[in-house]
């Protein structure tokens, strides 16, 4: 089987697992909805303030929702005791690609829900550039989340460590994503920044992923 087919199988398996258990959607989507609704109250409820803060808020919500999603990267395989088998059967590239595709999908859904709520509840303006930011930004976050999800074992310190390692490193996504969604800004430099962030994250993850699978 080719690497692409194995990666597709892993991604499809992760999606099927989620559709049957709905763990990620139960964990993340209510959190996204609650945060976007409460933001209106927390920020004072004034229209101009809310619409100005909405793009940044969307990306903060996406970054924070990546923390619980990281738990699911290898959780099912480790719980079933088939992680070693999967590592033996699939190449590191296929495993990275499969896990990345599935996680990217969940982050895209979280971003889409947060964006829709930002438009509906906070009066944010919708721009096509925001969709570019959504696709590119969630990809970069997904790459780092997959690496950290495989790297960190279960334990009390895990969520805190993922938060400390993932969120600060994703500052470019927060800044570029916010600017791309905000009105009256030039989109191209920020889209290039996101693309560069994605490329650097992916190349680094590809280089270090085999070392993570040695355990």
């Amino acid at each position: 089987m080719s690497t692409a087919r194995i990666a597709f199988s892993i991604a499809r398996r992760d999606v099927s697992l989620e559709l049957s258990g709905r763990e990620a959607s139960i964990t993340v989507l209510p959190f996204v909805a609650a945060l976007m609704m409460l933001a209106g109250l927390g920020l004072g409820g004034q229209g101009p303030v809310l619409s100005a803060a909405a793009p940044g808020l969307v990306w903060l919500v996406v970054l924070v929702s990546a923390i619980p999603l990281a738990r699911g990267v290898a959780a099912a395989e480790r719980a079933d005791g088939c992680w070693d088998l999967l590592r033996a059967l699939a190449s590191p590239t296929a495993l990275l690609a499969g896990k990345l595709a599935a996680l990217w999908l969940w982050l895209l859904i979280a971003w889409a829900v947060a964006s829709m709520l930002a438009v509906a509840l906070l009066g944010a303006a919708w721009r096509p550039e925001a969709a570019v930011a959504g696709v590119l930004g969630t990809f970069g976050v997904a790459v780092t989340t997959v690496v950290l999800g495989v790297l960190l074992p279960h334990g009390a310190r895990r969520p805190g460590l993922i938060a400390v390692l993932l969120v600060p490193g994703a500052v470019p996504v927060l800044i570029a994503g916010t600017h791309l969604a905000a009105p009256a800004t030039s989109g191209l430099p920020w889209a290039l920044l996101l693309a560069s962030y994605d490329a650097i994250s992916l190349i680094t993850a590809y280089a270090v992923f085999p070392a993570l699978l040695e355990e």
Binding site: L152, R157, V164, L165, P168, L193, Y197, T204, A211
Partner: protein, 243 residues
């Protein structure tokens, strides 16, 4: 029992003595010889410590990157020890640089903290390397710890330039480069430049001395199999591969 070779001991002692001499010189130049800044007054003297602390931190994090890459290539724990010692040093120096910068920023900028690229990048560095140190000690096998830490050490460092540039594009407030400013001669008085250089040399030598000592302590802890290192993350050793 410390099993460092006599040559290594001599190097460590020589670096320590040089550091003491450099610190004495830097203190004299920074506190007694260099005049107060015309605009910033006495607060400017904090720069003789703040800038060297930041530069030493960047040097330490570059060492973490080198140690991490070398560990993944060689799988020798001595590289991991170098990375760990450098990360501890880098975290301390970064925290010091941020604290001193904040003390300087209050009288000069009027605020303790500003959303400036260099400040944000440095705070991001601090958080990432705190996470790096937090990862160490999660597993009992030192090679598992070393492998995980090496991955974070590489991921963390490669992100830094793009984090920095993203915040630079966002906004900038921090003072631009003084010594390396474009032009024929730096816009800084000679004695101030000498005080800054002496501060940088003394910080580098002190950091090198601490680094060498910390490596010795880490190596001793690994040799005594299972003992925890006082004053740092515990290293429990159950396998002694490549030592």
């Amino acid at each position: 029992m410390d099993a460092a070779s006599p040559a290594r001991r001599r190097t460590e002692r020589a670096v320590g003595l040089l550091a003491v001499a450099a610190v004495a010189t830097a203190l004299t130049l920074g506190l007694a010889v260099a005049p107060p800044d015309v605009v910033q007054g006495q607060a400017q003297r904090l720069m003789y410590v703040h800038v060297p602390a930041a530069l030493t931190a960047y040097l330490a994090f570059a060492t973490v990157l080198l140690g991490s890459v070398a560990y993944l290539l060689r799988r020798d724990l001595k590289w991991d020890m170098r990375a760990q010692a450098a990360a501890e040093l880098g975290v301390g120096m970064t925290a010091l640089a941020i604290a001193l910068g904040s003390l300087w920023g209050r009288p000069v900028w009027g605020v303790w903290w500003a959303w400036d690229p260099r400040l944000v990048s440095t705070a991001v560095l601090l958080l990432i390397y705190l996470g790096y140190l937090g990862i160490r000690g999660l597993a009992e096998d030192p090679h598992t710890n070393a492998r995980r830490a090496a991955v974070v050490g590489i991921l963390g460092f490669v992100n830094v330039p793009i984090v920095h540039f993203s915040v630079v594009w966002w906004r900038t407030l921090h003072q631009g480069p003084t010594v390396l400013a474009p032009g024929s001669s730096p816009p800084i008085e000679g004695v101030m430049l000498a005080a800054l250089a002496a501060g940088w040399v003394s910080f580098t030598l002190l950091a090198a001395w601490v680094f060498l000592r910390r490596i010795r302590v880490l190596a001793a802890a690994v040799r005594t199999s299972g003992s925890a290192v006082t004053g740092g993350p515990p290293i429990r050793v159950f396998a002694r591969r490549n030592l």
